[in-house]
Amino acid sequence: MAALLLRILTIFGAATLLGSVGVCVGILVAQVPRGPVDGQPLWPTESLQISLLHTIWMAVTATFAALLISLPATIGISIGRPRGRRIITAITVLPLVTMPSVYAYATLLITNSNFEMLRRATDAIGWNRPEFAPMHAGLVLAWWLWPIPALLLAAAYRHAGAPAYRLASLDASPVKAFLRGALPPMRESLLAAAAAVFILAAIDSTVPPFMAAARVWGVELMADAREASSTARPGAYLFFRAWPLVAVVMLIGIVVLQGAKRMADWGGTSSDADTGRDTPLARRAFYTAAALAFLAATLPIWIYAFSMFDGRYGFLESFSSAWTSGQRAIGSSVIVALVAAACTVAIAIALLDDPRWPSWTRMIRTFAVVLIVMVALFPPAVISTALIAFFSSAKISPSDRWNLYDNTPAAWVAAMICRYAFLPVLVAKFANRRIPDELPGQAATDGAGRWMSLLHARLPRLWMPILAAGLLVAGLSLNEVPASSQLQPAQWGGGSIAVWTDDQMHFGRHNRTTALALMMMTPGLAAVTMLMLSARRWRTSTRANANCTPDNPG
């Protein structure tokens, strides 16, 4: 029965992949080979080169700043005792399940503070000069994306950094031991973390407008999409506008693929193995790191809380008005986020392979992974345009009483899959590679078929990392603005809560924004905490399974 369910899940994953990433690829394959649209230049014009430079500047700022901000959490997760480590991990994931614009708006409030001194200080350092806007956007993106390096580095620490740290901490302070002893052997993961932040920052189109970084690719393509829609081949038009950025990002992506092996350990960062030394100094370092991580993750809430009484609603009224006006949007956004997470998990499982399988099935799976990563690199404007063209076409959604485009969130979910499926897929891929071949091999020798081997020898070791990545997909989908605003179905649900919250920020309703941010962050935080707490049980059972052999059934 379980094997049958697994097969159904695999077919479902393959079909979902085809209906999302396949659509985008299909549109590009159908439109791009015919070349640029109406004399569109193939090589970036001077204006586009400026955008490219600004985008790279923003992404590089985000990368360095994110690595810096992630250090306290990395140290906390790495050197803390198991319980404390789980708490910091849960806090660390918080920004990723929060809208990036929540961080952007908080920055806007603080840098445009009513405090004269603060304003003068920001003026004095040139903060407000327009040419620094990409840097501002990069810093805000770092504030949102720092959990990625924190989690990757903490996972790498467990595998490569811990032994070096133990040795170094014999005659150095915990922080020095971490920086000089543990970090060098983790450089592969450091590179992967940097690349992941760079990519996500480069294709973001939510934060830059807030920070007035008008000339970055994500924003440029929003305006370009208008021109593209008027042409015969919008997909090709946007492709030939976006290709230089995609090329840069793909190059970086190759680095990610090389170094992202540690991503597989996201679900395992809460290992009970005590990697630290329980000394007063280590405890102090842990508490400092935990406090800094907590501050980095929750600072926007405090900023909003202080501006809470600017608006026309009181504190409690804010929650009730936010809930009354946003509950339908919350409902539909949660459904879309959960469905998108489930679909991406199914895709990740469908793309799992085994060295004993025929090479052509493995090649097709690898090809699918490459396509998923490639589509994820396109800015949301490109993905939305392709999906609208496909799902609204008469062949897919004929103008009858009920259809996929108007009455279901299919296109919206597909966009979320296109944007975020790469997370569970890569996590599953690398976690799968780390499984020692003996167990599936033994299962095969004992006569277990392909599905039984996958079900009993591989999946028990993959569930947690895949689910953790799926949870991240849910959080990111819940907070996605650009594609959600384009693909909300006309006759289903109450729209996107992320778009609604974005509107509240633009109207300066700090109180409603705070209430909504809290409403959206709390379930995410609860889910992450539950997952982290259940990780212990999962790891225990995994270890027990790993100790089982045909001769010693445990």
Binding site: G26, A223, W451, G508
Partner: protein
């Protein structure tokens, strides 16, 4: 069992390859054509009581949700028709929905288009996205606010203004003309929303049409040299004023009024549109109307016509005038009635500002509109966008 397993495994792999070719064929057929011929619209199908026969209608609406909701809810209540709404994000006002309408042109989903401005609507009409329909409720609307082919009707004006904090800025400090913003006294004191989106886009296209590309390009250069601040939308430009980051922000009247209602110290002035070289006098402000139209190929035509009649009615325009948006009615009779209503200050006083007399001492007419041809401004939108990108946002 083994055969089944192999079959399932192969199925999950071949599902990619087996469907890729038809998928490519399918997606290849999804690109919109460049045809500007509007799809045929179905005839109206009201029943004998004038009630729409459709149970639902889809509207794409770039009016702020807060102002549109009560109007759409009233329609639902009075007609029994369910209105499915699609709003745009504040920052990209109208752009997202315009993109969507264009992308869906081969198989339209929206029935009614209600925009917070007029220039994008004119472009949509020219691209065949809007169909002719003359709402009965809009007979009083002056010709200036109607398309000659009835593809759109405009109403409810919002002015392009400069917001400032009267506690920090004296009346003498205010710019008299938009061209003045490049004076040294405005250095680092002025904020402007991204001119590729929303009403700011239309305003810049108007300046392009009034001043010509050369003067506008020089003005952009000078604005850059004056270190203007960019903002993500008009309301965030106002936020920069209320928080003291800048002293002046180009925005719409409704954003100032909303901030004022929230208790912020904020006021607005209405600069003239004379070109920077002073060769001509173009007194008055740019007042941009909302616009609404029937989408070509609307599937719920009867309900769409009914909704358009509701949106363009006297009552809706009055409701918008009384909302925090304070849209100025294009029907003079509504303004006169609102001014005369006892128990509230005259509506025209909402926009009182320090410079509301003409040079000869007479009171300025209300609204004091610059002589702008909306159609000519809409025609240069793309050229204006390019100039913005090449010079102002370089």
């Amino acid at each position: 069992m083994k055969t089944t397993a192999r079959l399932t495994s192969h199925l999950s792999c071949t599902i990619f390859t087996a469907l890729v070719i038809p998928l490519v064929g399918l997606t290849g057929g999804c690109s919109p054509s460049n045809s500007t011929t509007p799809p045929t619209t179905a005839p109206s199908s009201d029943d004998s009581n004038g009630k729409p026969t459709d149970a639902a209608v889809i509207i794409y609406c770039s009016i702020d949700r807060e102002f549109a909701e009560p109007i759409l809810a009233d329609f639902e209540k009075s007609s029994g028709v369910r209105v499915h709404r699609q709003y745009d994000t504040e920052a990209g006002k109208t752009t997202g929905l315009v993109n969507r309408l264009l992308a869906e042109r081969e198989n339209p989903r929206a029935d009614v288009w209600w925009s917070s401005e007029i220039f994008g609507t004119m472009q949509l009409a020219d691209q065949g996205i809007l169909a002719p329909f003359r709402p009965e409720s809009a007979t009083e609307i002056p010709d200036r606010y109607r398309d000659s082919s009835d593809r759109w009707t405009a109403f409810g004006l919002r002015g392009r203004v400069i917001a400032y904090d009267p506690k920090r800025v004296s009346a003498a400090d205010l710019p008299k003309r938009w061209a003045d913003l490049t004076d040294a006294r405005f250095k680092r004191r002025f904020a402007l929303a991204d001119p590729r989106f929303g009403t700011t886009r239309g305003h810049m296209a108007t300046l392009y049409q009034l001043w010509g590309p050369e003067q506008l390009s020089n003005w952009y250069e000078d604005l850059r040299a004056n270190e203007f601040r960019r903002a993500d939308g008009n309301s965030l430009a106002v936020l920069l004023v209320t928080r003291g980051t800048v002293d002046f922000a180009a925005t719409d009247t409704d954003d100032v009024i909303v901030a004022r209602e929230r208790g912020n110290s904020i006021a607005m002035c209405f600069p003239d549109h004379d070109p920077p070289d002073g060769s001509r006098q173009i007194p008055g402000s740019l007042w941009i109307p909302c616009s609404a139209g029937l989408v070509s190929g609307a599937r719920h035509r009867s309900a769409a016509e009914s909704l358009l009649n509701h949106i363009l009615s006297v009552e809706t325009e009055r409701q918008l005038a009384l909302s925090d948006s304070k849209n100025v009615p294009v029907r003079a009779s509504i303004t006169a009635a609102l001014d005369a209503e006892p128990g509230r200050p005259p509506f025209s006083n909402t926009f009182a500002n320090p410079d509301d007399t003409l040079p000869d001492g007479r009171a300025k007419p209300f609204p004091y509109e610059a002589k702008v041809d909306y159609a000519e401004a809409a025609a240069v939108l793309s050229a204006s966008d390019r100039l913005v990108v090449d010079v102002l946002l370089r």
